[in-house]
Symmetry: C3
Subunit: 350 residues, 3 copies
């Protein structure tokens, strides 16, 4: 804490967060709108990327060794409303039964959008988070990625086995083509679900505008099931994240679950008594969170019983139980200021 | 970090914490005193609560299925001194052997106060934290709760099994009577210690002024013992929390252990060599902490040996060992700025 | 979050960090240079320390019960450059392939320096972090410590068994000589690697200028191997920490790995395919971090597979795997603002 209003004049700049990142050598601040496209223009095309542009034949397709699990996913621009109005035209927080006064809540976002094979047609709108990548140990995940946003972005996966070229990360001079997919270009990621990769994971942009791509919506869930898994009846995927001014151009920051803010706008999950239910939770922003679910608890892999769990940026975990408790339950981040800035939702059990 | 005094002018508002919550539609800031009673007056009485007021017979007593463990607990106002003066009239930090200059340290707090059966007489003063709820798997905990503070407050438990009506949480329109206990009213919570609920937990206000109720002192420890537990010789319950200006009206924030700040004011725990000792630790505020105990270490349920452990808001854990190391030991949060703002204490072993 | 630039004027002082500590009764702020030597002069010499000064015979050497593992380590002043220029005279961030504009990056640091037996000659320069203390269960670690910096400092270990006198911590009136080693003086710490102390730990200053000693560089890794350990082929020790203005006198804060900031300056670790590789990670500052390693994942003691792990101040953990994935990989803190303020590095596998 160290909270001492008597010391206010000494505080500025101290607590950890003014500077979010630099892009193209320019500083990006956590609370100030910025022009990402202009900043991205200042990033040099890395030599391996330029070479691949000149000679596309250089980029060899990676071998597929397991069962092929194929996706066509584009990064696209979309208008995204963090708090859509209800049918009465009001933005509401159902947890506090109040109207939300946050000013503008719609912005120009980026999202991952799934397509049918060979880019036949969209399977859905671009969404925040992106589509679930659902694989099993032994699979090889093949993601055909097309960049339709105006800056270089990528897909970087957690948990999977991938060779260095399939990392999807910007690495300055050493960047591979998959770590710097320019507007209008494509790249095919090949990721392998080796033994020892099972778990709840996520994927996200890790290109040269990192982390602004993530803060604009470029992230999604990735699941690797054990080989012998009996699928749960219900599976819920929960991203704790935030939208910040440099990514949204809005004057407010928002604490979110799956792209929305405040109970009733964030996902309302439903299950029935007797269901085998799995929750998959991951954290995507600069803050640490705790996931709490009312009326329930679960057994951790070490045998501990918990109903509240810390997770930091990049962390992910799952839990599973047989539902036995009907009601209207809250799930939320137990950091009070996150909870009260929108990081909560309903879980309804009948 | 991103600490850059050169960038000070850009920092304001960025780091995550100005706005603590809204109550009755009014914003509450982490560093500004506020009038909770006035804000609470702006919260509408939820329909199920109003109906129960009109017709108390509607609220049926929950069935008690296990061994009955019964408590009478009132929420009461109390004057609370975060740093009481010693017999020489000085407020001291024994860790640094210095006098504390923090201005006023006494405020109008809320605390849970235990009574004998049927409100016969107080068992103790209202305290921060509240009384231990001590149960065993198989028990049904029955808490007769009376609200004697001037705003609606509740008791919301972690870990236990409870039906939706026994949640003790404000849920806007859908709030049950137990989630909005008005001044002068009572509610009986029935919580069940099913198999799979054993652990170190805590309870706290989760009513319409959340989290100000917690920040004013409405929290306490809750323990569910395994059925076959051999009780330790010593059991210590440790809440890492803070007092903030909107809840205290004071101009300083305080990092605390069990309601007090700075070594010598926070609890001094004692044990003897050979004792079977259990520590129960939980975190109650908006910050993340690490619990560190000098001269000791413990085995985690996964077999790892640690002497320092991260815990976030709402988390709780315990550890247990046979004492073998005499001395004057410090326990503290290892976040240096928390440690040095009061979050530490003595553990004395003879 | 609670980020709301509309509310900027209310934010100052709220988020948790202005005041880092007090030394000699004077406040030290996280973002303001301070004069540590002057502050330390305001700290009274504790009575047991004064008595030992008057009569050195009072301090009895501790018994050594295990295999003796002996170190001679001095705390020394050194000029430390957080971002050394490359051969072209430029300070570079290889991750973003950009020149770093942070102003001055060299300061008057403190470091632990290893010597040969009986202070024969230095084994190396003083470094940040200090030398590895490498022991095995059953060993007794004996550290002959000499303070050559101008303020009282100490060595306080995590994980090991030590008697109260060997704690190395300032405890106000009750401070033992090992908790307040004055400039020019020596103290011999005796720490025991009992059964149940195996793990990855660290040591650090815990004297009267705590935590400024740590922020000036006084910390290092400490390893206690299980008795039957087959040593890995490669062992990497990684401290996530920061340098702050009150300790450096610089106008910027830096997020660091092992004393350096930004990829290419932080350690570049190397291994070969087939190597048995161990990573040891610990966190040393006021922030929470997550450790992420690209292209790899590991099994936690509870059987969970992770590639990203939360650690708070004082926490430490290790993981170990057989290397199978060649390439240029990033390791980094997944808190984006830490990553982009320097907390990342290369791991090269051939």
């Amino acid at each position: 804490m160290g909270i001492d209003p008597m010391d206010r004049r000494n505080f500025l700049g101290a607590a950890g967060g003014a500077l979010l990142c630099t892009i193209g050598g320019q500083k990006v601040f956590q609370d100030k709108p910025t022009n990402v496209q202009k900043l991205a223009a200042g990033v040099k095309v890395p030599p391996k990327v330029a070479a691949a542009n000149r000679n596309p034949g250089l980029t060899k397709a990676a071998a597929v060794t397991g069962n092929r699990k194929e996706y066509w996913i584009a990064a696209e621009q979309l208008r995204w409303n963090i708090i859509p109005a209800n049918k009465n035209g009001k933005k509401r927080d159902q947890m506090l039964n109040q109207t939300i006064r946050k000013g503008k809540t719609t912005f120009s976002a980026y999202g991952y959008r799934p397509y049918t094979a060979n880019w036949g047609q969209p399977l859905a709108q671009a969404t925040i988070p992106g589509p679930l990548i659902d694989a099993t140990v032994g699979d090889t995940v093949v993601v055909h990625f097309r960049n339709q946003v105006p800056v270089p972005v990528t897909m970087h996966p957690h948990g999977l086995f991938y060779s260095n070229e399939m990392d999807g990360a910007y690495k300055g001079y050493w960047t591979d083509p998959g770590g710097f997919v320019q507007p209008g270009r494509e790249f095919t990621y090949v990721w392998e679900c080796h033994e020892g990769t099972e778990g709840t994971w996520w994927y996200h942009d890790h290109g040269p505008i990192d982390p602004i791509g993530v803060y604009k919506g470029l992230f999604g869930p990735l699941l690797i099931r054990p080989k012998d898994e009996v699928k749960p009846d219900r599976e819920f995927f929960i991203a704790f994240h935030s939208f910040l001014p440099p990514a949204t151009g809005l004057t407010s920051g928002f604490d979110c679950v799956n792209g929305r803010s405040f109970t009733g706008n964030t996902p309302t999950f439903s299950a029935n008594v007797g269901d085998d239910v799995a929750f998959h939770v991951y954290a995507v922003d600069d803050n640490f969170h705790t996931f709490h679910l009312h009326g329930h608890r679960w057994e951790e892999p070490d045998g501990t019983i918990v109903d509240n769990k810390t997770l930091g940026p990049g962390d992910s975990f799952k839990f599973r139980f047989i539902e036995e408790n009907p009601g209207r339950w809250l799930y939320h981040c137990h950091v009070f200021s996150h909870l009260h800035n929108g990081m909560s939702g309903w879980y309804l059990v009948e």
